[in-house]
Symmetry: C2
Subunit: 424 residues, 2 copies
């Protein structure tokens, strides 16, 4: 079983992160160490969507320096997509897509497939693994975890999260220094909106900016804890009364008590049918201004937080690359149908390794913050959360610069000759 | 005249920046080199407001490492304020304030006063200089330039601007990589709102993210150029048609053709009577979504951009410190009533020095971008702007870290014993 010889295909899926390319670099560099089993190394452009279009690139045509540079380059160097193969809602289209995928795999003798992505992408990887078995097509499928949301189950954390936590905590710290240094008689409030639709890991991680109990952030509003306006306003008022300023961090997916989205913009849906969220900070600012008459400003970090490779976590980047490497080793060893996970073996000092978890356990399960990692009022992660999160932001990725700006790499993307008729 | 002996007072005013503390460090370190004229070094807390309250701290009580650390610490370490001594609108209050200020100066034998700030603060420095002459109180007043807005006249640039330009251009580059790597059939648009009420220097500086003509940003909307909806939409559409994505940068102070504020939030006024702006990006996103049916997201960097010391420009920080040093040398040499300015002596390779400009020429004059530094359609700064701006973002300030986050310093702030009755 361990002697499967063929080509590998690696692709990226879902929202990019600061370190998703490090995982691809990990896959590629490890693949190069198994010439007895791995012949060609291909990259799939734009995730499943590009593979359906037979848009593969030849990684051997890339400079070794470029591959190494992926370890500090944000966004998805291969391109990415949000594309769901949905057997429940669109069974015929899903079946056609699967047929096409396996035609592409066969045409290019793809025997190893690595998909770097979050919940939806691991679901896709799982389906491809199952289909390969059903079709009797020898293929080893390993998922590589990626999501800033940190909501994949079974893995201690998800590559991408540590970097957004580091950038956001830094930003909260800097904004707090800024706001607290400006004297206004009536005090002021700044509300910082961060990503996180269902899970509040990103918002919660801003607690790392706290060194002293009076430090910012003073309130963190999580999607997991229904918004309590009265308690929130009381907390803001008490903070402004004490410190003359208050820094609030809010996850974009904050919910009302009835479970509906707090922010105004919940009527639009993305391609997976999830509501598109924005405006939680602005809505909160309206409430604070109206009810407390406190000068309030908002910051919406948006995409900036998930691509801030200029201040990425070295621990995160290292883990992202290690997950890619572990995926290849597992596949070469004969495994399929797993996602690589990160296993914490010790917290103080921090030690970790990688492991494998069945994709069946991963797909579409959302890992929320344990309730007992939060204060009773739900406004602040407690020591358990901090102990968990602190090591993930350690270390700075060294990014070369040119003209005062980060120097990121771009793949040459030499296309592999197509062997199939165009997709219909 | 050069033998004036006494104490110095340094204070900060207006919005903080990533490098305003570097100017204070420059003042303090240079002051230490003139023991024959300078006896005590005091810092005024919270700008003029703290000085009126006789809140002075003894800088000699601070560790030398803390003062050195100010060179990489954002926000206003001494505290800052927006406080106008307004002889036109509130002559009696202004006269009382001036009397009190000179009481404080006399009580603490302040003979050298350095005020680090922007337009309004230089106006205050100018008034204090004039009052000193009128009152026959021997005082040397030198302004130290500071403003992210880069709108002070006569100086080649303003310390604080280079760092926000560097951070914003980096962010635009990273967001562009992120957005362009996500394949969506209909294309997408991201609108990034940056600071800049009257002058568009900050928004314009995002052009530095461009390496290739097709690179982001694709449209920059400046407060200097009235918003032309039709031309804007055409530009966004053409970009999305060509590249599948479009990155727009907008200065918060964008104006309509009739000169009124473009953003919705123009009804609130700050303490100087300027309109409080926000929401330009959200308003633009509504227009793009409605008229072009293009998926659009917004980012509002807000305060994050002016305190991002974790990626500050080394050139900017060096100039900020140099301006502080030059201010002290000028005062010790007998000058008063000037602001230090930065003089560009050569662009390629970049060379600069400091000079002096009468505060009378500075106060309340707003330096806008020359029209011939912009493209004809006003959507993009041209080569003249780029040649001007490029050197200002060169180099990275080395910031020590602790636990994965920047390690910024905090002053101990040992208060000087008060000698006057409390301000009434």
């Amino acid at each position: 079983m361990a002697d499967l010889v063929g080509n590998i295909l690696v692709a990226q899926s879902g929202g990019p992160t600061a370190v998703i390319n490090a995982s691809v670099a990990g896959v590629i560099q490890e693949a190069g160490r198994h010439p007895d089993q791995i012949e060609e190394i291909y990259g799939g452009l734009n995730g499943i969507l590009g593979i359906l279009n037979e848009e593969l690139i030849d990684i051997q045509e890339e400079k070794r320096n470029t591959i190494e540079g992926l370890k500090h380059t944000p966004a998805a160097a291969l391109g990415t997509c949000r594309y769901k193969i949905d057997f429940k809602k669109k069974p015929e289209k899903a079946a056609r897509d699967m047929d096409r995928l396996f035609e592409v795999f066969l045409a290019h003798n793809i025997r190893y497939f690595f998909y770097v992505g979050g919940n939806d992408s691991q679901d896709t990887a799982h389906k491809i693994h199952e289909q390969a078995i059903q079709r009797g097509y020898e293929l080893r499928v390993i998922g590589v975890p990626k999501t800033i949301d940190n909501d994949l189950p079974h893995t201690d954390q998800c590559p991408g999260f540590g970097s957004v936590a580091k950038y956001n905590a830094t930003t909260v710290m800097e904004i707090a220094d800024d706001v607290s240094s400006m004297t206004t008689d009536d005090g002021s409030c700044c509300i910082i909106e961060v990503m996180g639709r269902g899970a509040g890991w990103i918002a919660a991680s801003a607690v790392l900016a706290k060194r002293l109990p009076t430090d910012a952030p003073h309130v963190i509003l999580l999607p997991e804890i229904p918004f309590n306006e009265e308690a929130f306003l009381a907390r803001v008022k008490a903070t402004v009364d004490q410190l003359k300023y208050c820094i609030v961090v809010v996850g974009e997916g904050l919910k009302k008590v009835d479970g509906s989205e707090f922010s105004a913009d919940s009527t639009r849906l993305d391609s997976f049918g999830h509501p598109v969220l924005s405006g939680a900070a602005d809505r909160l600012a309206e409430i604070v201004t109206e009810k407390l008459n406190t000068k309030t400003r908002t910051v919406k970090l948006g995409y900036a937080q998930r691509c801030a490779a200029h201040y990425a976590s070295a621990t995160d980047a290292e883990q992202a690359a290690a997950c890619g490497g572990a995926a290849v080793r597992a596949a070469v060893d004969g495994q399929s149908g797993f996602m690589v996970k990160i296993v914490r073996t010790q917290t103080n000092p921090y030690r970790w390794t990688t492991g494998l978890q069945s994709l069946a356990d991963i797909a579409n399960v959302e890992n929320l913050i344990p309730r007992d990692w939060l204060s009773e009022d739900g406004f602040m992660p407690n020591e358990k959360f901090v102990e968990y999160c602190r090591p993930l932001i350690e270390g700075e990725v060294k990014v070369p610069t040119e003209g005062g700006l980060p120097k990121y790499v771009v793949l040459d993307k030499v296309l592999v000759e197509k062997k199939l008729p165009a997709r219909v």
